[in-house]
Amino acid sequence: MTNEYIQQILSDKFGAAVWGFEETFGIFSFNIKPEINTAVLQFLNDEASLSFQFLTDLTAVHYPDRKDEELCVVYHLHNLVANKRIRVRASVPVAQPDIATMTNLFSSANWMERETYDFFGVNFTGHPNLVRILNADEMNYFPMRKEYPMEDPTRTDKDDEMFGR
């Protein structure tokens, strides 16, 4: 299974909804439209010549400068037979970060989607229990979004004079 073969079969199936094929950091990657994430991952899972049946990682990245596609949800998939890994990216706007859940296909997506919701606020529609998993339940913000100052501005004990800055 080569990168060109994966690109060919996906382009034939989904057309312009899949683009940006590249190999970065040793893993073949591409972008998909967020509306078709279930269809693409189901196809990658079912198609015998691809059979990416293991979801190794699911997370998000916040790109504050990208208009209307600030939050990039990243799926890492693994074909255990061919030992081939791919990365699937789907970008959603931060104003309405809705994307369909993958828990129906991969049970491992359950906790990883909760974690992604916890830190980035991605709303996985259809998730059975989308609540915070790591942070305190009372937290009312999403800490890994790049929209906060580096230090807690409410602190009074670390003033600039004492820390030489």
Binding site: N135, M139, Y148, E151, D152, R155, D157
Partner: protein, 187 residues
């Protein structure tokens, strides 16, 4: 050749409280006598979450031997203990647990914050870490260091002993103590 085993020749006996003494008797204040007894029978409750906890284990071990100072017995239940030793980073999610442990301790109770994390959050200036345990419970002694050496932790215990000796028997009736507890929302 010098002796292979070294031992402490500078024994310091417990300081006798001020009072009036004569042939076969001594009169002193009850507070001071009770304070002297309490200060040398502190039961520590370790609340160890990270590397400061390892240093605390060294402090309790035979090399440094906290037992010499009258804190031999660690009790792993807050209901039996006198002094809470918070050694390590306390995340915001753990803060209610720490507070619950403190509330379960019976009066009189003291708290030592061991290390930079327990005292101020340390290097973890982060969304998930409590910036010092004094945000949720009152602290008597802060031990600096990252982590502090066992000598530092022993020094902290000795400072708590000084506090214990100087306090009245029923500290909880003192108006300033009540005010402090109210500022933390503790009955």
């Amino acid at each position: 050749m010098s002796r292979p085993v070294q031992y402490n020749t500078n024994n310091k006996p417990a300081v006798i409280p001020e009072g009036y003494s004569g042939e076969g008797f001594m009169a002193t204040k009850m507070d001071q006598l009770v304070g002297l007894g309490r200060s040398h029978s502190l039961w520590p409750l370790p609340f160890a979450t990270s590397c400061c906890g390892i240093e605390f284990m060294g402090t309790m071990g035979s090399n440094y031997d906290l037992g010499r100072f009258g804190a031999e017995r660690m009790g792993f239940t807050p209901r039996q203990c006198d002094v809470l030793l918070v050694a390590g980073t306390i995340s915001k999610k753990l803060a209610p647990v720490l507070r619950q442990v403190y509330l379960q301790m019976a009066e009189p109770r003291w708290v030592i914050a061991i290390g930079a994390c327990a005292s101020s959050g340390g290097i973890f200036d982060s969304y998930s870490v409590l910036q010092g345990i004094d945000q949720v419970i009152p602290v008597d002694v802060y031990v600096p260091g990252c982590p502090p050496r066992p000598e530092g932790i022993i020094e902290g215990i000795l400072r708590v002993q000084d506090l214990v000796k100087a306090e009245s028997t029923r500290r909880r009736n003192h108006p300033r103590y009540k005010e402090l507890m109210e500022s933390y929302g503790i009955e």
